[in-house]
C-alpha cells in the first residue's frame, strides 16, 4: 500500500550561491530519496497521470519498478514511450501534465513524477545496458534535418528499425534548443545532453554539422542525388520575434535567442572562448515564458540586476512553475502587468531605459486567457542598459522556400498530418517546425510518430 508521507523534497543549490554560477540548480534525488518518493504512488487503475502525459508514458509501472529497485526495468518502461527521460524529467512542464493530474495532487502534493523520471534517466545514462540490438541494416536511407529533440528521437527510432540515418545540422554542434537555448544550470550539457546524443550515435546514426539544408544542400538534392528514401524535417522554430516598437535597434537590444546562443552554444561567459556578450548593469527581459526565465537568470548569473517585464499577471506566466520559483529565489525582479512601448536611447544610440505602460486584465478571449489592456495614463520608465526580447519564435521559412510542394500554414509552420506526412511525398516533419514553439516532449513524440510513418512509407515503395 502507498506510503502516506509528504512529497520528498529535492536538494537544490543555495539560491544566493547559484545566482553566481552556471552549475545545475537542482541536484535531483539520490537512490534512497527516489525509492522513498516512489513509495507514494497509488498505482491507480485508471492513472490520470498517464492520460495527461503527451506521450503516454506508463508512469505507475515505471514507478513501481523503481520502487522495487529494478532500475533497468523502470528505464525500459519509460523507453517504450520516451527516448529522452533525463532531459524531459528536467524540462517538461510537469505541473500542467502528469503531476498536474496526479490524484494525490487533489488533496496534497502530487508524486514527483518528473524528478523520478530524471532519476531513472540519469541512472540509465550512467549504468544502463547498451541500447537493444538494432534490426539488421535494411539498406534504406533516411535524412533527418535538425538535431533537436524531434530529429534525435526520429533518428534513433529509424536506426533501431534498421535504416541508415544521417542527421544534417545547421549549427556546429548537435542538440538544437537543448544546446543553444536551455542553459547549463537547468540542463547540463556534458553530463546529460552530450550523453543522450552519444547514445543516438551509438545506434549508428551519423551527424553532419555545418549543413544548412536549403542552402548547403536541398531536400531535392538529398532525395535525388544523395539517394535518401525519405526526409524528416525537425528544424524547430528558431526565428526570434521583435515587438516592432521604437528604439528596438538601439545598441543593447538583443533577442533572447542571441543572448542565450552567445552564452550557451558559444560559451561567452567562459574566458577561454572568443565570443563576446554584453550584459551591462541592469537588464530588462520582456516576456514570461521559459525563454524569458532562462535569459533573465543567465543575465543575473553574469552579474546584472535582472528584471522580467510581462504584460499579463503572474498566473498567466507560461514558464514552468519551478523556473519562476527558482528565478524569484535567485533575486529576479518581476514586473507583471507591464508592457514596453518604447526602448529609450542615449545620444550615442545605446539603451538607457524602457518606457512602459501598466496593464489590466480585460475580458477572456477565445482561448480563455484574459487579454491585457492598457491602463490609461500609466506610463513610466525603467532604467536599464540591456533589453532582451523573449517574445516567442517562429519556424525558419528557408526549407519551405527551397522545397517545391512543401506547404506551410499562415504562421509559417510546415503543414503535416497526425503522422507527420507533409504535402510533399517522402517528406515528413515534426516538432516546433510543425507546431510552432512548443515543448521538448511534444517534439520528441512527433519525431517518433514520424519514424513509424516513414517506415511504413518506405516499405510501401
Amino acid at each position: 500500500m502507498a506510503n502516506k508521507i509528504p512529497r520528498v523534497p529535492v536538494r537544490e543549490q543555495d539560491p544566493a550561491i547559484r545566482a553566481t554560477n552556471f552549475e545545475e540548480v537542482c541536484y535531483g534525488y539520490n537512490q534512497e530519496e527516489a525509492l522513498l518518493e516512489a513509495s507514494r504512488c497509488l498505482r491507480c487503475k485508471k492513472p490520470r497521470c498517464v492520460e495527461a502525459c503527451p506521450v503516454g508514458i506508463n508512469i505507475p509501472e515505471f514507478i513501481a519498478a523503481l520502487h522495487e529497485g529494478k532500475l533497468q526495468e523502470a528505464a525500459d518502461i519509460i523507453s517504450a514511450d520516451s527516448s529522452l527521460p533525463s532531459i524531459c524529467g528536467r524540462v517538461c512542464p510537469q505541473e500542467t501534465q502528469c503531476e498536474g493530474s496526479c490524484i494525490l495532487g487533489i488533496k496534497g502534493e502530487p508524486v514527483a513524477i518528473g524528478k523520478l523520471e530524471r532519476f531513472v534517466g540519469d541512472w540509465k545514462l550512467q549504468n544502463g545496458a547498451a541500447p537493444k540490438a538494432t534490426a539488421p541494416r535494411n539498406g534504406r536511407k533516411v535524412a533527418v534535418i535538425g538535431s533537436g529533440p524531434a530529429g534525435l528521437a526520429c533518428a534513433s527510432d529509424l536506426a533501431r528499425m534498421g535504416y541508415g540515418v544521417k542527421i544534417f545540422e545547421a549549427l556546429h554542434e548537435a542538440g538544437g534548443v537543448l544546446v543553444y537555448g536551455i542553459p547549463e544550470f537547468r540542463l547540463p550539457k556534458q553530463r546529460v545532453v552530450a550523453r543522450e546524443i552519444e547514445a543516438v550515435k551509438a545506434l549508428g546514426v551519423e551527424i553532419e554539422t555545418d549543413v544548412i539544408v536549403g542552402r548547403t544542400v536541398t531536400i531535392d538534392s538529398l532525395l535525388d542525388e544523395e539517394g535518401y528514401d525519405a526526409v524528416f524535417i525537425g528544424s524547430g522554430a528558431g526565428l526570434p520575434r521583435f515587438m516592432g516598437i521604437p528604439g528596438e535597434n538601439l545598441n543593447g537590444v538583443v533577442s533572447a535567442n542571441e543572448f542565450l546562443t552567445r552564452a550557451n552554444l558559444m560559451h561567452a561567459y567562459d574566458a577561454e572562448y572568443d565570443t563576446p556578450i554584453y550584459v551591462g548593469q541592469r537588464v530588462v527581459v520582456v516576456g514570461g515564458g521559459n525563454v524569458a526565465m532562462d535569459a533573465v537568470r543567465t543575465a543575473k548569473r553574469l552579474g546584472a540586476e535582472a528584471t522580467i517585464v510581462y504584460r499579463r499577471s503572474e498566473k498567466e506566466l507560461p514558464a514552468r512553475v519551478e523556473e519562476v520559483h527558482h528565478a524569484r529565489e535567485e533575486g529576479i525582479c518581476f514586473r507583471m502587468l507591464t508592457n514596453p512601448t518604447e526602448v529609450l536611447g542615449d545620444e550615442r544610440g545605446w539603451v538607457r531605459g524602457v518606457r512602459c505602460v501598466e496593464m489590466e486584465l480585460g475580458e477572456p478571449d477565445e482561448s480563455g486567457r484574459r487579454s491585457p489592456v492598457v491602463k490609461p495614463g500609466s506610463e513610466f520608465e525603467i532604467a536599464c542598459d540591456v533589453v532582451i526580447m523573449a517574445l516567442g519564435t517562429s519556424p525558419n521559412p528557408l526549407l519551405a522556400a527551397t522545397t517545391e510542394g512543401l506547404e506551410t500554414s499562415r504562421r509559417g509552420c510546415i503543414t503535416a498530418d497526425e503522422h507527420g506526412a507533409t504535402t510533399r511525398k517522402g517528406v515528413f516533419a515534426g516538432g516546433d517546425a510543425v507546431t510552432g514553439a512548443a515543448t521538448v516532449i511534444l517534439a520528441m513524440g512527433a519525431g517518433r510518430t514520424a519514424a513509424k510513418a516513414i517506415d511504413e512509407y518506405i516499405r510501401s515503395l
Binding site: 545547421a170 549549427l171 556546429h172 554539422t209 555545418d210 549543413v211 544548412i212 542552402r215 548547403t216 544542400v217 528558431g238 526565428l239 526570434p240 521583435f242 528596438e248 535597434n249 545598441n251 543593447g252 538583443v254 533577442s255 535567442n257 542571441e258 546562443t261 552567445r262 558559444m266 560559451h267 577561454e272 572562448y273 572568443d274 565570443t275 563576446p276 554584453y278 545620444e347 550615442r348 544610440g349 525558419n396 528557408l398
Partner: protein, 294 residues
Amino acid sequence: MYPILEKRLLAEGIWLMKIHAPRVARSAQPGQFVIVRADAHGERIPLTISDFDAAEGSVTIVTQAIGASTRKICALEQGEALADFAGPLGRPSEFVHLPLEEVRQRRYLFVAGGVGTAPIYPQVKWLKEHGVRADVIIGAKNSRMLIYTDAMRAVAENLYIATDDGSEGFKGMVTGLIEELVEQRGERYDECVAIGPMIMMKFVALTTRKYNLKTTVSLNALMVDGTGMCGACRVTVGGKTRFTCVDGPEFDGHEVDFDEAMRRQGMYRTQEQRAAAIEAEREAGHVCKIGLDK
C-alpha cells in the same frame, strides 16, 4: 574540419585562403558568404565567398586580420584546418536570378574598397562569363594595400584604381573617381555594386544617388548563426528591420540606414577597440563621421 589547401598574403594583414569544403563549393553563388569558426573556442564570424571551384571542392576566402577572430584565422597555415565552414549563406546577387537577356542590357559599375575587393571578384567573373559588361573601381589606402588587381583586370571591362595617397591610379576616394567617370568622362551605368567598409558604402550610395544610379551594397553586420536565428544582424532598410544574413547581405544602398548599421557594428566593441578604430579612421584621413568617437 575544413583543410586549408592554400594560403597567400595579398597585402599587409590580408590573407587569401583556399578551403576544402566540397558541399559549399558545389552550392555557392556570387554574393553569398560563409560562417567560419577557427577552432573549438572560436567565434562564428561571417566571411564572403571570394571564389569557388566545384570540381576541386574548394572555396576561397580573403580575410583581413582586424581583431581576435580574424587574426586567429589568418594565423592558421596551409595543411591546418578550420573547425567550421558553414554555407553558402545569404541570398545570391540579384543578377544571378534575373533573366539573362535583361542583365545583358545593363552595364555595371563595381566599387570595391579594401578587403571588399575580394567578394567583388566572383560577381564580375560571373558577369564576364555570361557576357555582361562591368567596370570595376578598386580603392585602397595606398598601392601596397591593393589586392586582386590582376585577377580583376582579366574579368572587368575597365579597371580603375583609386588610392588615398595617389601612389597608384586616381588620388582620392572611390567617390571622387565615380564622380570623374560619370561627370567628366560621361560614362553611363545602369547599376552600381559597392562592397567595402560600411563608411565607404555609405558615401558611394550618397554619390550615386545624385545620378539616380541604382546601388547595391553588401552589408557586413555583426552575426552569430548566419541563418536567421538570432537577429544580431538587424539593419534598417527602407524603414523596415531586415536580417542581413537571410534577407541580404545585399541591399539597396539608397534605402539602408548606414548610421544605425555602423553604430550596431560597435555593439561588442570595447573602449580600447573603439579608440583604435577612431585612430584608424583618422590615419586614413577621414573625419570621423560615424560616431566612433562617441
